[in-house]
Symmetry: D3
Subunit: 211 residues, 6 copies
C-alpha cells in the first residue's frame, strides 16, 4: 500500500546495515569444509563446460568435488534425469524439482531450479509459483496432475497406490513417463536432504537470473 | 549445470506456448467476482495516494472494495500494524509477514510482501529466503528469535508459553514488542486465509520489483 | 459410572485445595502487563455500552487498551465481521469462531465465543460441541459445509481451491457469503494467535453464561 | 462485546428453530444399533447401583450391553483404573481422561469426564480447560508433568523414552504412578476410539452437571 | 546387490562386537521394575497354561503381574477381544493388531502380534507387511477395508464418520463386526501406549517364530 | 497368550486359503511393466556377479533395466554409497537405510535392507528393530546419534541446522562422516519414493534371509 515512503522516528535513524542474507554463499559452500580433490580429466572438462555455457560452476558440483567417485555418480544421474530424452519436457522436470523442493523448503534447490524454471519457461512468475504454492498457478491439466503426484510422493510416499498412477495415465502420461516423474521427484528428495544436511549454498548469480 | 543449451528431439519441436502462470492476475482479482461499491471520499483519497506513491492500487484493496466498511477496517488495521511507530522496524514487520505467509503458502502475500522485503532491505535475496526457509538466511539473533516465535505461533499456537516469550525478551524485545510480533503474525494468519479462500491474485507488477 | 461416592484411603485425606485453574483471569489479563492508555471518548462510550449491555468489558478490549489506535481498529473490524448484516446469521458466525478456535486450542476465544454460541442458540450443548468436535454435532447441511470450509481453511489454507468454494455454493451460499465465512475464519485465526501469544485470559463470568 | 442485543434485518426474522446439536443422544446411543442382551445378575446390580448413585446408567455401559463378556471386561478394567487405590487421585485420573480425549476430540469422553473433573474438583472451569488446552490452566508442577506425559503418549507414543519417565520422577511420581498414568492415558486412547468409531453419544444429563 | 562379500580397509578390521539390539529383553521386561505380586490361583493356572501351550509366559503378562486386579482385567479383555467368537477371524484380529501397532511404532506389539500373524496365516511375509505398510500387501477387499478403518481410527479418530462405517458395510461387515474392528483397534491403541510408556520388551522367542 | 490352539465355531470351518500377501513379487516387479532393454556388457557382467554372489539379481536392478543409462547411474551411485570406503561401516549404512525406509514405510527397501542388516550384524532382531522403531533398540551412542540425524533429515529436512551437525560431531563423527550419513539418508529418500511410486516388489528370497 502507500507505505514505503512514510517515516517514523525509528526508521529515520540511519539503520545499522544488515549482513546480507546470503553472505558467504559463493565462498563457503557447505558447513562441512571438505577440501576438493583433484578433478578427473572428465570432470575437469565438465566443469570447464559449465563455466563456458553457464558462466560459473554450480556450487553443488563444487560441494561434491571432495570425492571424485561421488561427483561422477551425481553428475551422471543428474544429467540423465534432467537432460536425457524423456516424455517430460525439461521445463516439466524443473517444475517438479521446484515443487518438491518447496515442500522440503530446500534453499539450494529452490534457488538453482527456480532460476531454471524462469529461464526455460520465459515466465519468471512460474518459477516463483512453483516455490510458493504450485496449486495457485494457472497450469494445464497435465502439469497439475504431474505436480500433484510428485508432491504427494514427497509428502506421503506410503500412500501412493494404483489410483494415483491411474490419475497420471488419465492426464496422458505413459508408464515410462510415470517412472520419470517418480525418478525426478525422488532425486530432489535426495538432493534436498543432502543440501539441507550440509547447509549447501547456491551461487548468488542464480538469484537474479531470468527475472 | 551445463544443461540449458543442449537439445533433445522433443525439446526441438516448437513447444506449444504455455498460458502464463499468472494469467489474469491483474483483471480477475478473486474467484468471487464481488462488484466494487462506490468508494468513500476517504478511501478514494487513499486509493489515489496509492496510485501516486506506488503507481498502482494493491489488489487486496480492490478485493475489499465491495464493502466500504470492510475496506476501511482492513486499511485501518493494516496501516496501524505495518506503518505505525513500533519497536519493530518496518522491515522486521515485513519479514514476519513473509515468513508466516511461507508457512501458509499464500501466493498473494508472498508476492506482495516479498517485494516489500526486497525493497526495504535492499537485499533481494532476503525476500526470497523469507519465502523459502527463513532458517537458511544469515540473520541476527534478534531477527531469528522474532521469526522463530512468529512461525511457531503460526504452526502451533497452542504450544506458545511463557518460555517462548522469555526467548524474545532474552533477544532484546520488550513486552510491547512481543505484542507487535504477535499482532503482525496474527494479521497475516488472517490475510493468508482470506487470500487463499478467495484465490486472491497479486498485482503482477510486484513480481519484478526491487530484484 | 458409580464412582463418585466410593472412597479410598488416599481420597479420604482432606485434599490440599487446588489453586483454581483460572486463578487471576479477571485481574492479570495478559502476560505482557501493558498499562492501558486513556480511552478516546468513542472507546470510553463503547466500554460503557459493554458494561451496560453485557455487565462487563470483555478482557480482549482491556488487553488492546494500551494503544488507542489498535483498540479502535480491532473493534471496528470485529463489529463489522460479527454484527453487521450478512448472509450468515450471528450464530453461524459464532459457530465458525468456536470451531476455528477449537482447532487452534485457544482458551480465550473458546470461552468467550462458546458462551456466545450457547446464548444465541439457546442450545448450550451446541457451544460445547463446537469446542470439542463439530463433526459430532447434529447440524444442517449448510452448517456442516460452512464449518468444513472454515476448519480446512484453518488447518491447511494452501489446499483451498475452487472445488471447496463449489461445495459452499452447492450448500446454498453466495459468493458474498463465502467471503464472510473466510473473513470470520481468518479473523479468529488472527485473534487465536494474539491471545495465545500473550496468554490472554477470558473474563471468568463467561464460564457460567447460558449453561 | 456489546453485541448480543443489536438487531439486523436478517436476525429479526423469526429464525427456523435448529434441531438441537445433541438430538437423540439419550435414545440412539451408537450408530450400530446393537440390541442389548440380558444383563448378568452382577451387571444388573451394577446398573442399579449407577441409577441409585448417579441417577442414570452411563450410555457407554448401555452401548456395551449387547455382549455380557465385553461389558464385564470393560467395567472391570474401568473401575480398577479410575477407582482403585493409586498414587494418583481420582481427580488426577479424570484430568488425564479429559486431556487425552481433547487430543482425540472424543465427544463422548469429553462430555462424561469433563463432568467428572468439574464434580471432583469443584472447579468447573478446570473441566473446560482440560478439554480446551490443558497448557492454559494454572496447574501444579505435578499436574503439568503428568499431563505432558499423557498427551505426548497420546500424540507420539513412539517418542516416549527414559527421559520422559525421568521428568515424571522429578515431579515426584513413583514407578508405580508412571504405570498408572500410562494405563489411564492408554485406556482413554482405547475408549476414545471405540466411541468415535461407533458415534457413541453421552447422556445429556452430563452437560449441565456441576457447572 | 553384489555387495556383502567385498571388503574395504575399515571392514577388514575385526569389528567390536555389538551389544544385541534386544539385550536384556527376557530379563528386564519394563523400565519400571515393579516387583510381581503373588498370582491368584486363576492367574497361576493361566500362566501354567501359557507355559504349556506356548512354551513361555508372554512378557506383557509378567509386566502386569505387579497388580492382580490389573492383570485379571487385562487378560479378561484381551481374551474376549482376540479369542472369543466374532465375525472377524483370529487372523483378521491379529492383522488389525499389527497394522495399528505399526502406526504407533510399538516394538512389543509388533513383535508379539507379528509372530501371531505369521503363525495363523502360514504366510510369514504377511506379518512383515502388516508391520511395514499394509497398503503394499496383496489383500482381499474385505481385509483392506478393515485395515483402512482401523488405521484411520488410529491416526485421526476425530474424522471417523458414518461414511467410514458405510465403507465397512459395503465390504460385507455387519454392525457387530464394526464394533469388533473398533474394539480391537482401540485395544491396541491402549496396549501400544502402555508398552511404549514402560519400554515393555517382548520375549525374544517371538522373533524367530513361524519364519 | 494361550490362544493359538483354542477353536471357535468360525475358525473351525476350513478357511478359504488366502492369496499370499506377496503374490507375484518375483514376476511382476513394478506396476509399470516397462520391458527391459538389452544389458550393456558391463551391466550383464554385474548381473552375473549378483547371481553368483547373491544367488539372484535384486529386483530393483531388473526394474531399472528398461533404460541402460538409468541402470548404470543407479548402480554407480548405490555402490559408491553403500560399498565404498567410508567412516561408516557397511552395517551402519544399512541401518540408516532401514530406519529411513521405516519412516517412509517403503516395502521394497525395508525387505531388502532389513535382510542386509540381519546379515551384516548377525543380529536378526536388529533388522526388525530398525524397521519398527529404532528408538526401542539397544544402540551405542554413536549409532543413536547417527539415526536421529538421518530420521530427522527424512522427516523434517528444513529443520536441520548447525546444532544437529554438532550433535554428530560430539558423537565422534567427522565432517566427512556427516556427508556420508546425509548422502545415505538422502539416497533412501529417493529410492523409497521410486519404489513406492512404481509399487516395486522385493525378491521373495529376502524375507527368509539371515533369520
Amino acid at each position: 500500500m502507500a507505505k514505503r515512503n512514510s517515516k517514523t522516528a525509528r526508521d529515520v535513524r540511519a539503520p545499522k546495515p544488515r549482513i546480507p542474507a546470503t553472505a558467504g554463499d559463493d565462498t563457503v559452500i557447505t558447513a562441512l569444509d571438505l577440501p576438493p580433490e583433484q578433478l578427473s580429466p572428465e570432470m575437469a572438462a565438465y566443469f570447464a563446460k559449465c563455466e563456458e555455457k553457464l558462466g560459473f560452476v554450480p556450487n553443488v558440483l563444487k560441494a561434491y568435488a571432495f570425492d571424485p567417485a561421488k561427483l561422477a555418480a551425481f553428475v551422471a544421474m543428474y544429467n540423465d534425469l534432467m537432460l536425457a530424452p524423456s516424455g517430460l519436457t525439461k521445463l516439466e522436470r524443473e517444475m517438479i524439482a521446484v515443487a518438491v523442493s518447496s515442500h522440503n523448503q530446500c534453499y539450494y534447490c529452490l534457488v538453482a531450479h527456480g532460476a531454471a524454471v524462469r529461464q526455460l519457461s520465459g515466465d519468471p512468475a512460474l518459477g516463483e509459483l512453483m516455490a510458493m504454492n504450485y496449486r495457485a498457478a494457472r497450469l494445464s491439466r497435465r502439469e497439475r496432475a504431474m505436480l500433484d503426484f510428485a508432491v504427494k510422493l514427497t509428502a506421503e510416499p506410503w500412500r501412493i497406490e494404483e489410483q494415483d498412477r491411474e490419475e497420471l495415465r488419465r492426464a496422458g502420461f505413459t508408464n515410462r513417463d510415470i517412472w520419470d516423474i517418480a525418478a525426478v521427484a525422488g532425486f530432489f528428495n535426495m538432493s534436498n536432504r543432502v543440501a539441507s544436511a550440509t547447509d549447501m549454498r547456491p551461487n548468488s548469480v542464480y538469484h537474479g537470473q531470468a527475472r
